[in-house]
Symmetry: C2
Subunit: 671 residues, 2 copies
């Protein structure tokens, strides 16, 4: 990249492309002072900001290759920027802050009118971010996430939990532009990326960021490769994952295992059983909740150790559940308190967080002793030694910002977004220390920059058990595509969704459509949902269990192809589920598609995500001949086509000349 002086300012260019332009009439940099108000209620944050000062740094001067920025030529320099070349195509702007009072930073990057922008972590509502702004702050994603729906209204009213389009468990201050560049901001502060303007993007960060990285490449795939190297790649999937579905079951030993055996007897291919209640439950007025004391509950699962051994002999794995909190009334809490492993409040007591009729201490992962203890006592001793092969590493988004003090002395406001990768790293290290990386599968919904390196598998969080636009089945695809662009190769979701509130119930149809999609993701896993008794379950109906059996067998059938994708993920950083445009750059019709995906380079999946439909309209990218898996019909790309879409036959197309054509062609014969 090149830095050039221009009239009244400077420009950063790569070949002919202007990546940054700053002049006194149109400054790219602003600094200021803001006064924020952050209120947390059970993982939902109400955040307001008052901008006290916002100073355009109109005046720039290049001195010894350093850019000095000031309000005007007579006033003091506020920022010094040094350009660090990462490669011929990539640069880092290192920013030095001269006035320590400043706590707000804005940068404008040139935009084109027809430009698209993707990324910002795992976005659930909008894949192309243009036309909206995206606050970046890890939190609960909201229930309904659409202010025009009754469920969002009621969730807002009763739980402050309705959410909006931008709420996500996994934000990240990184975006990819259709102009073939990516931009990443090195900061864990609250940020707000604004893509609403025609001629510029404006990134807001609630500190002066240490640096900003800009990557360019000739193709989107090359850009993904670079980002995946930058943020870290995941280990390959464990071999046992390919064996079939992981059944999410709870309700104690007898219930869980007998239902699994029934599924196996009915032909379901089972890779594992996931009992999130392995550590016990507690009764609250909301219903049953897990008991947050991360060790085997001998009461609920009396023979679990033996059970795990015998399952493993049958090549079936057991998965558990863990979060980065310990409940006050558990056995582990006093031990951790004794060792000062929790974040503390102003009084020096454990900073307790309300999770709904029970309080927890926050394990302080900035304290090396906490990390050691959690790895050793919880993950290694209580989980790995028991024979557990994986777990949901839940939460990570709740770090309060008020009256909470951490071992590393850094303001909780700056550590809030950093928490998910910290939590991921504790899990990853515990596994690695036992030499089990790539053999153990834990999965997380919370994320931030760095998650890529530590978390082997994302899970899309808590969708509603429905087809709703902003919280239903289709949002999982958007989550996979946006996070995939930033180097998260593996993504999956709760089959059937999770959240059932205010009369919203999972139907047989929703469950089965979700199974249809999940067979074309790197991991299949069911979830009973938050209210198992009121929602449709996989074994409630003989047809459904037969359908599940068939789709798990299709998933197994595709093992050779999935392993090929896993190798690509490992070598190139390509996600298993990819936006259409990364393989069809020439076809701009693909740039906004967020409910279809390429499962690898050769298979196009278009999950049905509406109720009561018998056919489905799919866009097939141009300059390719496609084969419809279900009827072997040949179709020229570059058009929308409508195909039959019964349950059990999700719209699926492969490239005619794929090396995997025979494997794909055999899908309809799998039973």
């Amino acid at each position: 990249m090149e830095l050039n002086q221009i009239n009244g300012g400077f420009q950063l260019t790569q070949n002919e492309q202007v990546l940054l332009s700053h002049t006194n009439r149109s400054p790219a940099f602003f600094v200021g002072i803001g006064k924020e108000k952050i209120e947390i209620y059970r993982g939902n944050f109400a955040i307001e900001d008052t901008i006290v000062e916002r100073i355009p740094l109109k005046h720039s001067k290049i001195i010894n290759n350093e850019i000095h920025l000031a309000y005007d030529e007579l006033t003091a320099t506020q920022l010094i920027i040094r350009l660090d070349s990462l490669s011929l195509q990539d640069s880092k702007l290192i920013i030095e802050q001269l006035d320590s009072q400043l706590n707000r930073f804005w940068i404008r990057l040139p935009a084109q009118e027809d430009e698209k922008v993707w990324g910002c972590g795992e976005q659930m509502s909008y894949f192309n971010l243009r036309g909206r702004h995206f606050p970046l702050w890890t939190s609960e994603p909201g229930v309904g996430r659409d202010k025009n729906t009754e469920i969002t209204f009621l969730s807002d009213k009763y739980n402050k939990a309705g959410g909006d389009y931008y709420h996500t468990n996994y934000p990240q201050p990184t975006f990819v532009s259709s102009q073939h560049y990516a931009c990443h901001v090195n900061s864990t502060a609250y940020a707000d990326f604004d893509f609403r303007n025609t001629d510029y993007h404006e990134l807001q960060i609630w500190e002066i960021p240490k640096s900003i990285e800009i990557y360019t490449a000739l193709s989107f795939l090359d850009l993904i490769e670079k980002l995946s190297l930058r943020f870290g790649r995941q280990p390959k999937l464990p071999e046992w994952i390919y064996n079939g579905v992981i059944l999410g079951l709870k309700g104690g030993e007898e219930n869980s295992f007998s239902r699994m055996e029934n599924a196996i007897a009915k032909g379901v291919s089972v890779a594992g059983i996931w009992c999130e209640d392995w550590a016990g439950i507690r009764q609250t007025s909301f219903g049953k909740r897990l008991f947050w004391d991360w060790k085997w509950s001998k009461k609920r699962y009396p023979n679990l150790d033996e059970k795990i051994k015998s399952l493993r002999e049958r090549n079936i794995r057991f998965l558990a559940y863990v979060s980065p909190y310990l409940c006050e009334d558990g056995e582990l809490y006093p031990l951790a308190k004794e060792k000062n492993l929790f974040a503390i409040n102003k009084q020096g007591d454990v900073a307790l967080v309300d999770f709904g009729e029970f309080n927890c201490g926050v394990l302080d992962f900035t304290n090396p002793e906490t990390r050691e203890w959690v790895k050793k006592e919880i993950i290694q001793k209580n989980m790995l030694d028991l024979g557990v092969s994986g777990w949901m590493a839940d939460f990570g988004e709740y770090l309060p910002t008020n009256d909470l003090y951490l071992h590393n002395g850094i303001d909780a406001k700056l550590m809030h977004n950093a928490w998910p990768p910290l939590w991921a790293s504790v899990n990853a290290e515990a596994v690695a220390e036992r030499g089990l990386t790539g053999e153990i599968m834990f999965f997380m919904r919370a994320g931030f920059t760095g998650t890529q390196k530590f978390c082997p598998m994302l899970w899309a969080g808590d969708q509603c058990v429905d087809f709703s636009r902003h919280d239903g089945l289709n949002t999982v695809i958007c989550g996979a595509l946006s996070s995939g662009l930033l180097g998260n190769a593996y993504h999956h979701s709760d089959i059937g969704g999770y959240t059932s509130l205010f009369g919203n119930r999972r139907t047989k149809e929703v469950f089965e459509r979700w199974v249809d999609m999940a067979a074309f993701t790197p991991m299949m896993r069911t979830h009973e949902g938050n209210r198992p008794d009121e929602n449709f379950q996989f074994d409630q109906d003989v047809n459904t269990i037969a359908h599940l059996a068939k789709m798990t067998n299709i998933y197994r059938h595709l093992t050779p192809y999935l392993k090929h994708l896993v190798n690509e993920a490992s070598e190139k950083g390509y996600p298993v589920q990819r936006p259409l445009f990364v393989h069809f750059e020439h076809d701009e019709n693909t740039y906004d598609i967020q409910d279809q995906y390429m499962y690898g380079a050769d298979l196009l999946v278009s999950p049905v995500h509406k109720q009561g439909v018998g056919e489905w309209t799919v866009y097939l990218p141009a300059q390719e001949t496609w084969i419809n898996v279900w009827n072997q019909q040949e179709i020229q790309g570059g058009q929308y086509i409508t195909v039959p879409a019964p349950i059990g036959q999700p719209p699926l197309f492969y490239r005619k000349n794929s090396q995997w054509a025979d494997l794909f062609a055999a899908i309809p014969r799998v039973s």
Copy 2:
């Protein structure tokens, strides 16, 4: 007032009180550039602002009694402020803008932690404004006005019309502080007054205002007197108003007049009949709407001219309805279009506004020819010559800000808030030109600075037909008290409320409680509501009509007292309905009370505004002995008391030693 230099800045003080303090460490003035986005949908505005620059003017220098303000001592002066003394106690800061690019202005005024603040026009939700911010932009007030209610949710969803606590037909950039000062900003731009901070108030204005006025006084009554002189006082009430209620009836001649005769026959004291459909109706999918072509509909009211004459002989007046728009399909529209009396769009065509299945032209009151024509052709010829004695001068809040151009060449964004007083002035001048000021009673819901001078009577706008916290009966009191402090002496409301949507229906109880309150306001007027057939009406029930009769007789009974209050309003500017604290400054318990009021100095009214209650708790101010009107019980002030509160006996208390004690004591004997 005194202007003094202090270390690093200056202070404005009155006696010992610091009214403005500016230093380089804690500047009071900020200027900047904002980029707003204003969307209108049927009088509901979605307004967003992006602050591009916000520069603290830290550096101040006093040169020849002028304050020069700049970012720092090396940069150019941005504002020059001259202090103009209005009196010994009152000052005006005249502001000169040196950089024409600036379009945002913020000023901070010192605040005390326990300070209260009132005013900002007619506020419907919160009387004490402390702890919240108040955008000041005339608009529809919203339906429900509470994001936690179903009616607001549905109104937002279907009509963008739910509103919030600060939405009002009548905002005004003026506030009164419990520190015995008032502050007024001379600007019609969008403003946002922020009273959320402990140690300062921050006023935001979307232009550099011409000036800011600060008034001080030793008592709140003196402050009101000053403000009422500053903004203009209203004429006295017409004599005919005292005769009783104005019955709002529509449905054509036969229906309206026969129902009025029935009411009179049942003992209701009637001052007038108000037929808003006098100009005809139109059918829309929403139901019947008025036909916006402001002339007598001979079809709907065939004998209206004769009718008005004969009613007047019986001392009953006829009231009509008018708005500042003309529908495209009416007879007046082509006449006004021919004369270029409408606001225009970019193409030079009439800028049409959608009012819901019909379009209207906006009469451009910045054009002297429009004013003349509306006064002469509509108000004088079509209304006064017909014998009309008053009217609802509806609307005034809808001036669009995009693609609308006015005769005076000023940006519609700056004229939007100016529109209500412009509309009021056209009405007032038309009346004055006929020598009928004080004889004709028109009433408006829309307002802004200057409304005081032109509008003889406020009407509280469109409440819901219920007891809801943010859009029901009690909000009318808040509206009367806040607008009253700023010099609007006369306020009243639609008896029974107006808005019935999404299943919300007016009950007998709501109607009767509203009558109970209205008897203690300067004017009683019923309204059928937006859906007459589905809502309770005054003549639907023999008990209700008897109750209305009794309360209109109580209203008449109080005529001598009300005339006394009207004289006070004329001579001192005191509103008829007053916050308790203006008469009880020593009792700070009164400062937050917004659901009780003093009806003049001597009568305390505490309307019942909840469903299904039989008793009511009232605060009686300290250092006074009170008499309960209904049972003559004597109570020492300075306490909350609970009294029986059946319908027909709204909690009412008078000062024991009032000169009007006999009149008040006789209230229970009125039948």
